[in-house]
Symmetry: C2
Subunit: 413 residues, 2 copies
């Protein structure tokens, strides 16, 4: 097992030193070849997916999981188009924003370079295989992929298309490798290989991310849970408040940038209408005592509710006396992901945007916009909830690091 993983990691490292300097044109050519090969392999991929689905149906797991696993013509076309979109993005490698000539004549530049070997660990959705391969390739990195066991045949069929694309563009096949062995220990062994692998990115549920973070000796970029808030200020516009709260909670409740807690200033005059709007949208409201004076049938909130990511049509609601109390609540109970204020007060907005310690802070907009595409980054590798290296939506640049280049002419200290 260890030998298997070690060999894959060594091949990856070796390949990185070969392809780290590939030009943007070469990389884009490979991406376009990959997209074409995906379309060409569509029927083989669908056959493989059928095998996965047949095996899945015997497990009695949820329909939502089955839907994530399912591929069809449209989804394969979507994968191909996503790769083409990545090809059209600017290449972060080689760009820089620090260049200086020192008094002694040394010329110093700091430029973006690929990180190296990146391992991606994810769950059932086979499209991540194509997506991750394309993002790593575009940023000059070498990828080791590991998808969920349920999607193995689909992923291997997609890998065939990826390899055909690489080959047509003259890239070594080890530029993207897939960990085929399904045993759990394969991943555990891989997470020990600091020095050969530079970065691990887990994508998936909380338990996957926690397990990878705890075991990894390699640096990890996490995409953690989102306990996002909407705070409705005393001065909030009624229509905007209602639209934003409903959108943040209901447009897609299963994702990390959906709102989980609503905070309402005690002097906001349309509190009852806002609660009623949530109820009209079939949202279960878990409320503090102040709200329950008007809606005595609502479930009473406990301390635990303020920490909870429901990912469902459920919301915790609390009335606050001041803006400061709202900010303190968000900084204490939130996950520092995405939080919004609805307010017509310049001062309240400025203070909220400054003092809330989150990756993304919003004035008069839904938290649902936290997304690489919506933020103009083109592609998204994930949404980081950590403060180091990358915070918030991660674009291609997050898959690069920096290098200092110094030009001298016999300079010594």
């Amino acid at each position: 097992m260890r030998e298997y993983v070690l060999q894959i990691a060594r091949q990856a490292r070796e390949t990185f030193y070969q392809i780290g300097q590939a030009s943007t044109e070469q990389k884009n050519l490979a991406l376009l070849s990959m997209a074409k090969a995906l379309r060409g392999h569509a029927s083989k991929i669908l056959q493989a997916n059928q095998r996965d689905l047949t095996a899945f149906d015997t497990t009695g797991k949820s329909q939502a999981l089955r839907d994530r696993l399912l591929l069809n013509e449209n989804r394969i076309e979507g994968m191909a188009q996503a790769i083409e979109a990545i090809a059209s993005l600017p290449d972060p490698v080689g760009s820089g924003n620090y260049i200086t000539k020192r008094p002694n004549g040394l010329r110093i530049e700091r430029v973006r370079v690929p990180i190296g070997v990146i391992a991606m660990i994810y769950e059932a959705r086979p499209n991540v295989t194509a997506d991750a391969a394309a993002l790593c390739l575009k940023s000059g990195n070498v990828a080791i992929l590991r998808g969920g066991r349920e999607a193995l045949h689909s992923n291997l069929a997609i890998m065939e298309a990826i390899h055909q694309g690489l080959q047509e563009a003259g890239f070594p096949l080890h530029t993207v490798q897939y960990l085929e062995k399904v045993e759990h220990e394969v991943v555990d062994e891989m997470l020990q290989l600091a020095g050969l692998i530079d970065l691990v990115i887990p994508r998936g549920g909380e338990s996957l991310i926690r397990s990878v973070t705890e075991k990894s000796k390699i640096p990890v970029i996490k995409h953690d849970k989102g306990v996002c808030h909407v705070y409705v200020d005393a001065s909030a516009d009624k229509n905007k408040a209602e639209a934003i709260v409903i959108n943040a909670k209901c447009q897609r409740p299963s994702v990390c940038n959906a709102a989980e807690t609503l905070l309402i200033h005690k002097d906001y005059p349309y509190r009852q209408d806002l609660i009623q709007a949530l109820l009209d949208h079939n949202v279960k409201v878990i409320a503090d005592e102040e709200i329950r004076k008007d809606f005595p049938n609502l479930q009473a909130a406990t301390e635990d509710n303020w920490y909870t990511e429901y990912l469902d049509y459920i919301i915790s609601v609390r009335v606050v006396d001041t803006l400061a109390e709202a900010i303190r609540h968000i900084n204490t109970y939130g996950s520092h992901h995405s939080d919004a204020i609805v307010s017509e007060s310049y001062g309240a907005v400025q203070r909220f945007l400054t003092e809330v310690d989150s990756a993304a802070v919003y004035a008069n907009a839904s938290t649902r916009f936290t997304d690489g595409g919506e933020f103009g980054l083109g592609a998204e590798i994930g949404i980081s909830t950590q403060k180091l290296h990358a915070r918030g939506p991660m674009g291609l640049e997050s898959l690069t690091t920096e290098k200092w280049i110094v030009y001298g002419d016999g300079h010594v200290r």
Copy 2:
């Protein structure tokens, strides 16, 4: 013990939410007050330092360690001036380089903000106390400091000056706290407090850094060892090669950016002169078989030598057949810190700078320049050998993170 650390961490977090928005002017005022207070407290600091030195003298440890611990009028003046220099640096907080208006009218900015609560763990040198406090304050962060036990009284006396400076500028004293309890468990407990503390920066020897990295549940930025190389190409200028090799090895052998390995192209015509120059500078040369044909008395290098950071007047030397072999040697055995090529060949230089996977790569200059001051960053928190968040010399910007700020007008998805 746990309660003690927990209280300090909570006070720090609370203070961060108070002072994270301090203006540059306020922070600079506090820094200048701190510098003034240090000068005013000089005699008290020297008395405290005398206590530490007296206790140290009974331990029979090395003179070099004693020198690190020693303070005098000059060194205190140096500390004060270093703080004034930090006050004069540009403030990274609030700066940004991404601002966009999306097609739907959302205005999105990405700006630099303080990281939060930063714990610094270091060894005997008391000047780090003033330095770390100033760097954290300037970047809007709250600091928890923990110096070596040998320097406790000196550090506490310096803390008094720091607190006087904070007070005069209206900052809460908890902006900079010092862990006074000398027990080891205090640090171990602190390293568990992810969520309250955002970042740990260990500064010191390899064992301190390894211990912190292994125990910490909080993200760590490491300043690891430097196995730096100078590669002398076939086309190298004789004078430049000699000057750079001698400088990189001898100017200050005890630091991480000093050279530890010399690689010489087989066709470089002045190989014997270069080895002789090292010997003339009292450098112990540990050489491969090719070198030993001419210098049979030199110690023979083993595989281990290529990995070794001597931090002394010792160098490993190897003859390589090609530039590619030199690059492979550096990427395999090096620590990805700082590596130099001496060459008059445009092609060789370009290839070396691109393919060597290190934080800093040099053409015709000594590796000794890897330093925040030399690179124009003003102050330096350390030199990162990792690829995530910060790589190479870390300036104030490395003590900040990013935040996405979104301005809408009722926008929903």
